[in-house]
Amino acid sequence: MSDDEVLAGHLQELRRGTVVVACLATLTTPGYGYALLDTLGHAGLSVDANTLYPLLRRLEKQGLLEAEWNTEESRPRKFYRTSDAGTGLLEQMLAEWQSLHGSITALRGGSPESPTTEH
């Protein structure tokens, strides 16, 4: 396995959970599948279509997104919007994100009060 493949694998692991955060954060203004795909892509968070569409549906089932069919335009589209529960979860995930970032920064800085055990 080449170094590039190793890097790609680890980056994928690292990004996996961020798609949910990105969806919940973006959909505070209602949007439909393809528009979200486009927005995330432009924001540097490219997601595969076949990952995003099922994910939206799963988040809807979990009550984190509210969905509504919009039939006013030329084609019917399913519009998603972050629910109250989704907003709550988003806040918790962002707090976790900050806490992780703090932990990693502290570890890299090697702050003196953090216990270091060596064998």
Partner: protein
């Protein structure tokens, strides 16, 4: 003929529960339309745009699994260790057991060596197939019933004992030597002591006395050399490849002539076999059993030694490596 999009939507729809179908169909159709429209805007022709959009969404089975949350595996990581353990257990117990029972019954009631052999092989194959199929089916059903965690809690007590390590065991050596020497002594003894006596009151040997010209002394020598090798192996405290080679040669040197003599019907004394009416006819089931036993013992011993030799060599070299119990 339906369009590619219609066929794609139908394919995804088949993979989701009926309750979600209508909604998923609409959603997938809308997604495809959006993806196609985006490609059309950048100047792609309609046919390629449709093809590219569907390619991007990928295998409909996979997409449907994403929607429905169904697994894309037969047996998941939660149950796989149990599956593997049960399969190993069944294959090592059930298959040999059924095969031996069927082989023995066919031999006993039918008696034809050819039919026995084919029945045995067929039984071994079909039993293996059944064990594999039914075990896999049971676990796949459990997986689909939502059992994703093992019902058996793993505890350290489940760990298997390690195979015995280290120097040769005196008990094994004594048994092996006693068997070899005992058989050699019997070959001589049966010449003079027999349950049968001829008209002059002399013992009728079980084995053909004509074999004394070569084969019987030869077999006695092979057995005694074998006992000697076993003793030397014990003194070396384990198997080496040299002893393995010697043991293999001796095993074959004993088994091959015995099998050939048996098959030719020249091992037993005709005077003995014709005098006892219960003696099985040559080529009958009893001689096949003896034949299979002689071959089986030799092959088993060679395989067993091949397994033990690398282990003993490791133990001999630098005694035991760190993580192993002494």
């Amino acid at each position: 003929m339906a369009t590619l999009t219609e066929r794609y939507v139908a394919a995804v729809s088949r993979g989701v529960p009926a309750s979600q179908r209508a909604d998923v169909e609409l959603e997938v159709a809308a997604a495809v339309e959006d993806l196609v429209a985006a490609r059309r805007e950048s100047g792609t022709d309609p046919v390629s745009a449709e093809r590219d959009a569907l390619t991007e969404l990928g295998d409909p089975v996979r997409l449907a699994a994403g929607y429905s949350g169904r697994q894309l595996q037969l047996i998941g990581p939660g149950l796989y260790p149990d599956y593997l353990r049960l399969l190993t257990l069944l294959l090592t117990i059930v298959v040999p057991l059924v095969t031996i029972v069927v082989g023995a019954t066919t031999l006993f009631f039918n008696g034809d060596p050819g039919e026995t052999a084919s029945a045995t092989v067929l039984t071994a194959l079909s039993t293996t197939g059944h064990v594999l199929f039914w075990t896999t089916l049971a676990f796949a059903l459990a997986e689909r019933a939502g059992t994703t965690k093992s019902p058996i809690r793993w505890t350290p007590e489940l760990l298997r004992d390690l195979p015995q390590q280290g120097p040769a065991r005196l008990g094994d050596t004594v048994a092996t030597i006693a068997l070899g020497v005992g058989l050699a002594v019997y070959l001589v003894w049966q010449q003079f002591r027999s349950p049968l006596h001829d008209a002059d009151g002399r013992a009728v040997p079980l084995l053909d006395p004509a074999l004394w010209t070569f084969w019987l002394p030869y077999l006695i020598v092979v057995l005694l050399v074998g006992a000697g090798v076993e003793w030397m192996r014990y003194r070396t405290r384990g198997w080496t490849w040299g002893y393995f080679a010697a043991n293999t040669v001796l095993n074959l040197a004993f088994a091959v002539p015995v099998i050939v003599l048996l098959a030719a019907g020249s091992l037993f004394n005709p005077a003995f076999t014709s005098a006892v009416d219960w003696w099985p006819e040559a080529g009958g089931p009893a001689s096949v059993i003896i034949l299979v036993c002689v071959a089986g013992v030799a092959l088993w011993d060679i395989a067993d030694t091949a397994r033990k030799t690398p282990r003993d060599l490791r133990a001999l070299r630098g005694e035991l490596s760190p993580g192993q119990p002494s």
